[in-house]
């Protein structure tokens, strides 16, 4: 079986000003892939949350560190990888925002939203240091 894929890679500095650039790029890709409006919105939000985490919590706003965002456009799915150069974290250690004691906390919902809206989500520690968030949205799950 031949599977054609198009890859788009963008490397940004750890400035929050870059979030709108990545959001715009994501919107272009989901529009190109003809995702419905809701799916496109939630994919865009998931990418934005991942890149925000990479810049803010991973690279700690250090402008000398980069965030690598890679989109793989396939006929049946969009996969997205977001890599930072931080110290990493254990996704399983993140408190559940639905627990009563966390309900009124001002932060801690980003990863929950990513896991809710994407079909596959993996958090990978990179051998060279840093963290990768890998996520997939299937076209058929529109």
């Amino acid at each position: 079986m031949i599977r054609l894929a198009n890859e788009i890679e963008v490397i940004i500095s750890s400035a929050l000003d870059n979030l709108d650039l990545i959001q715009t790029l994501t919107d272009c890709i989901t529009n190109f892939m003809s995702f419905d409006e809701d799916s496109a919105h939630w994919i865009g939000m998931s990418v934005r949350e991942s890149v925000t985490n990479a810049i803010q919590h991973g690279n700690k706003l250090d402008l000398s560190k980069t965030v690598d965002i890679r989109f793989e456009v396939m006929p049946d799915r969009l996969s997205i990888s977001v890599k930072d150069q931080g110290n990493g974290f254990k996704a399983d250690d993140i408190p559940n925002p639905l627990d009563a004691e966390n309900l009124l906390k001002p932060s801690g919902r980003g990863i929950f939203y990513i896991r809710t809206f994407m079909d596959e989500v993996e958090f990978r520690s990179l051998s060279q240091g840093g963290m990768e968030v890998y996520m997939v949205k299937k076209v058929s799950s529109n």
Partner: protein, 112 residues
């Protein structure tokens, strides 16, 4: 992010429009509500009808603002949630925290 304030009786209505995202958007909400509390305003209604985008930081700011207002003896309620904001609040169980209205008059009446 833009916020316009109206006053109906003793209720401050904040008509929010644009994006509530990390940074400028969240600070706008925080600063406006802080000023209302300084002015001894206790009844605040956030009209979110024209908020076209919100991220987890924006949702967190709504929660933080709710806590601040409540701790200062006030009430903060939400008006005209968009479908997407409603979904984000629902899946994180925050609809059990906020009082939400689709009617401005009903929301204002609920403060009295």
């Amino acid at each position: 992010m833009k916020i316009e304030m109206r006053t109906v009786g003793d209720v401050r209505i904040l008509d929010c429009s644009g994006k509530i995202t990390l940074g400028e958007g969240t600070m706008a909400v925080r600063n406006t509500v802080r000023d209302i509390l300084k002015d001894n305003g206790k009844k605040i209604l956030l009209n979110l009808a024209n908020v076209n985008y919100i991220d987890s930081s924006g949702i967190g700011e709504l929660v933080s603002t709710y806590t601040t207002v409540t701790n200062n003896g006030g009430q903060l309620k939400l008006l005209n949630l968009t479908k997407k904001i409603n979904e984000l609040l629902q899946i994180t169980k925050l609809l059990t925290v906020f009082q939400v209205f689709d009617s401005e008059s009903a929301a204002i009446a609920s403060f009295s």
